[in-house]
Amino acid sequence: MDRKYLSSLNVKRRFMQISVFIFFFAVYYSSHYQNVLIGTFYSFKIGPIHIVDPYIYLTYFVRNISSPSIFLETFIGFLIPIVIAFFLGRVFCSWVCPYNFLYEIADIIRFRLTKRKIIKYYIPSSPRYRYLVLLILIVLGILLPFFPFYMVLPGLLSTFLHQIILRSWEFVSYFLVLFLIIFVVDFFLVKRVWCNLICPTGVLLQIFTWRRGLRVVKEDDVECGKCALCSFECPLGLTPHLDNHQTLCFNCGKCVAACERIRKGKNPLKFKTL
């Protein structure tokens, strides 16, 4: 990939993140006038095509395994984000997820205010912890068909946006209390614990990622100068120059762009597929 493309990749990513917000507002404002675009991040419909949050679908499927009616289009809606994650990794998290977008904006504000960049984010010492949390959340979502099942942040945030438009202040206030608890822990205490450990959607998308799909690699033919600028830029606090970040990386491309900028085109960090 050439230099100009990668340095503007972050611009494109920001554009996409903002567009998602605007898109959902447009969907909610127009929900009485059109039937083509309906839904939230839990389950969205574009004409005949459904897209369903994979954790929500999985929990729903297992809960209703004895029931006959599982619709085909909803099942395909479950497969679509899985197939995208298979080839492109967790791009949903870095390009679409509204919670990640809000977190990155908050990080920028924190940097402007404190003039210090956080580089010590929480990273679980083993990927097994994430799978354990996912398992617990699936089991809880099946046995108790309420609270934990609904706690998928992209879905909750999008529903919250809709309730603001509807002026359902009860839901809005309930959500704000929930969200503030999560956000305060995630932003001030154990930084990035939601994205790196808990988020069931994120973990599921990563489980279905192909090892040879889109990923960041450190090529051996060009020598790494160990400047660690890539780690500095990483919004999740990973260390690409040590080449051990694969299970958490969400393919935002900031490390590759930074490496390119510093090495002026002869960079060891690159995107790679196959």
Binding site: T40, S43, K45, V52, Y57, S67, L144, P145, E170, S173
Partner: protein
């Protein structure tokens, strides 16, 4: 297979909803039914029942269901029966009149529920032109009667099925 049988207040679900147990299992709280409802009658549960966070219900007194039948086809999981198209076949609940507070039963000449019932003169009949009576086999449970009743609190209330 919920491990706890939580006994809370029963809510009026959108038209076409399955039995309450099935409905809670199937509904994924996507919010599509709320989005297509042209009257904004559907509310998502929050403080009133934190164990049912996100589940859609209708508060008939606030805004009843006007039986436009736009919500059943959009439900992605079948928690609302997508084949339900006739408003007469809806079974959201049954209305019951409290004869102690209903003005017609106290001697006044009130026909508010009867005149506004969408299943006109079948689900709600006026006996002797004076006293409203609910005909349970036709009542769909939409709640328009509860919404228009001039008594506070409403003398006619829709009860969801058991």
């Amino acid at each position: 297979m919920p491990i706890f049988k939580l006994k809370f207040q029963r809510y009026l679900r959108p038209p076409g909803a399955l039995k309450e147990e099935e409905f809670i299992k199937k509904c994924i709280r996507c919010g599509k039914c709320q989005q297509v409802c042209p009257y904004n009658s559907i509310i998502l549960t929050s403080w009133e029942n934190p164990f049912q966070l996100g589940l859609p219900y209708i508060d008939a007194r606030k805004k009843p269901c006007y039986l436009c039948m736009k919500c059943p086809p959009v439900c992605p999981t079948g928690a609302l029966d997508r084949n339900l198209k006739d408003k007469e076949k809806v079974r959201m609940g049954i209305a019951k009149i409290d004869k102690n507070t209903c003005w017609a039963y106290q001697g006044s000449f009130c026909r508010a529920c009867y005149l506004n019932c969408p299943i006109f003169d079948k689900a709600l009949k006026m006996t002797d032109e004076l006293l409203p009576v609910v005909v349970e086999e036709y009542c769909v449970g939409c709640g328009v009667c509860e919404h228009v009743c001039p008594v506070e609190p409403s003398a006619i209330v829709v009860y969801p099925p058991k």
